[in-house]
Subunit: 142 residues, 2 copies
DNA sequence: GGCAAAACTTGATTCATTCCAGAAGAGTGA
DNA sequence: TCACTCTTCTGGAATGAATCAAGTTTTGCC
């Protein structure tokens, strides 16, 4: 378990520290959480970790590609540990809930822009906007 | 020209005010600008407009669907006046430049999630990440 | 064990965005 | 055209996520 994260960290030549392991654990157990929640989760087990350390760790892990930062409009940054597969997200407009969505179309035609304006594109990010089941129910019952 | 914007505003039952017209003009002439730039552009013609008014107007116009807010990760909010067609954006990782991209695939298979988790999806937003021509050139020449 | 570099702690700061109270302006009916 | 009402705007202060800075601790390596 922990040694798994250790391996991941070493693989990208990052040192293995308690804050980093704690962040990785928190993200494994709670996908799509924002920075504040990560801090709270980490402190549940390691009360002395500073918020600055969490920001630092999140940035380091993101740069290293171990976690992914997602930031839908009008929301604070969220992170998830699932990387490598090109999956996407559905975001609820009303409550901000996020769920994973597999990339429907196999080799992903949507990942190729029609006219790239000379840009060298290396990733396509898709965000589906809508209403989650809970909010849809609320709206009807009101 | 101006009367065109006036019509748009009235169509969504928003009052026609100088700040609103100024913001719409600024966005027509400068697509993909951030809030600060909008404020600067508006003040070029109407020096007395407060920053709060611009924030207010941008929100009102966004809610009304006259403009669209785009907010790539690690960047401040940007706005564009092109709405209605489902076009997407290429964002340069290094300088933040944004360019429009037509939706390549006609009726857009990428707009349909494979498993929507019960979400009612009404929009799919695609962001292509990469390097713009200028930054690519810089990198090579260094 | 001991050393250098990387990472962490504490505390302050920045900056986009929002909140608030009062003033001004737009639309409406007489 | 004029007065009235409600929306919008002005100016200033406040919020909150994220970053910066200085000094201390820890990690990985010899």
């Amino acid at each position: 378990m922990t040694s798994d994260f250790e391996t991941q960290l070493r693989a990208v030549s990052l040192r293995v520290t308690r804050p980093r392991l704690a962040v990785l654990e928190a993200l494994r157990d709670h996908p799509h959480v924002d920075t504040d929640t990560v801090i709270a989760l980490v402190r549940a087990n390691h009360p002395t970790v500073s918020h600055q350390a969490v920001y630092d760790v999140l940035r380091a892990l993101t740069d290293a590609g171990l976690i992914r930062r997602i930031q839908p409009a009008r929301a604070t940054a969220r992170y998830e540990s699932r990387v490598g597969d090109n999956h996407h997200h559905v975001v609820c407009r009303s409550c901000g809930a996020i769920a994973d969505v597999e990339c429907a179309v196999g080799h992903a035609p949507c990942l190729t822009a029609s006219d790239d304006h000379g840009f060298v594109v290396d990733e396509a990010e898709v965000v589906y906007w809508g209403t989650c089941p809970d909010c849809a129910t609320d709206r009807i019952s009101q």
